[in-house]
């Protein structure tokens, strides 16, 4: 998925861009509204992350111009001001979501995934962890180019873990991903699926934290 980041604060932009690229997104950057608009036309990103506090023009105006030029990318607003009026104005002008600074990068990633899902775009919605890549749209999983065939539950589990690499998820949390409310299950299903995943990918790909849960991480 292609993302255009319009943000004038250098260090913040650096941080976000790095995180996004690390997650597997293609990132274009602009530091002014004007540059952002022309880049949006040229690059046709799936999502535009737009800071409202730009030096050259008001963020909401940038958004309006984007829409006027019929650029239909999803737009996620960043704003330092925590004031409600500006948020409302942004959403009215055609933003799809907003986030107030400061924010956690995880939060940003979560919202991007939501946008992706909502827009139904997800053309190349892909998560990369180590040499394993997980395509959300096609349910394709590959390791170093080798295709790996996963069942539904396995895929769900893997995705849950991959959405936050390094983060530990408890058995309970994982079960919540697998089962809809009210059809809880009482056995070691998660264990079994984890085991099967390890067999299909490679054992060290999923790490056990005794008494806590599982996490994804490069073998270390």
């Amino acid at each position: 998925m292609r993302i255009l980041l319009i943000e004038d604060d250098q260090s913040l932009a650096d941080g976000i861009a790095t995180a996004l690229r690390h997650t597997g997104y293609a990132v274009d950057r602009a530091e002014t509204g004007a540059a952002g608009i022309s880049l949006a036309q040229a690059a046709r990103p799936d999502v535009i992350i737009l800071d409202l506090g730009l030096p050259d023009m008001d963020g909401v105006d940038v958004l309006k111009q984007l829409r006027r030029k019929s650029i239909s990318s999803s737009v996620l607003i960043l704003t330092a001001r925590d004031d409600l009026p500006s948020k409302i104005g942004g959403l009215d002008a055609g933003a799809d979501d907003y986030l107030t600074k400061p924010f956690a990068v995880d939060e940003l990633l979560a919202r991007l995934r939501a946008l992706e899902r909502r827009a139904g775009l997800g053309l190349s919605a892909e998560i990369q962890v180590g040499d394993v890549s997980i395509n959300l749209a096609s349910h394709e999983v590959t390791r170093a180019g080798e295709s790996i065939k996963l069942s539904r539950r396995e895929f769900t589990l893997l995705r849950a873990l991959a959405e936050r690499p390094g983060h530990i998820l408890s058995r309970e949390q994982l079960e919540d991903k697998l089962y809809s409310w009210g059809e809880e299950v009482a056995s070691n299903t998660v264990d079994v699926h984890i085991h099967n995943l390890r067999k299909k990918i490679y054992p060290e790909f999923i790490q056990t934290i005794r008494g806590v849960g599982y996490k994804l991480g490069p073998a270390k």
Copy 2:
């Protein structure tokens, strides 16, 4: 982007025009074929939305005249469900896509975006997946030059899948493509059509993702 809407039904035209303007398109309107043709020459729209059921002249003739005057706008046909087979047959003339009434506005917008994208890339109204090519306007499907005859439902299904190769569509989503509001169906129709498509093309062309849906995969 500039759009010319040729539609005689006032209230429908109002609805469409409003939605389009709200999305950021510039909209011109005509209520007769004759008016549409002259407006097309004057305004040079990027896309023409053309209702086939006009009072003064046959929609297909409008289209032919437009082409004869070498107006190269993309043309999206609107047609009542009933006269689909008879009229679509004569469309080789050069429509780029069509939509049967009644339709959801979202659907219209999606198709406009598709046209836009296609026009921007200078592509024809044809989708290629593997050695299978699907002509949106003429409803022709060929595999390696061999023509394949599909029924209406089969074509609709195939197109839905082909618009995003690799992307998984659920049964539910596919049903939405087949049935307009309020004529939902409760059976395994989709399964059966998929089965028939596989028989006519080749089985592996459509892949099943158990518990999720179907997707198109390249010939291999």
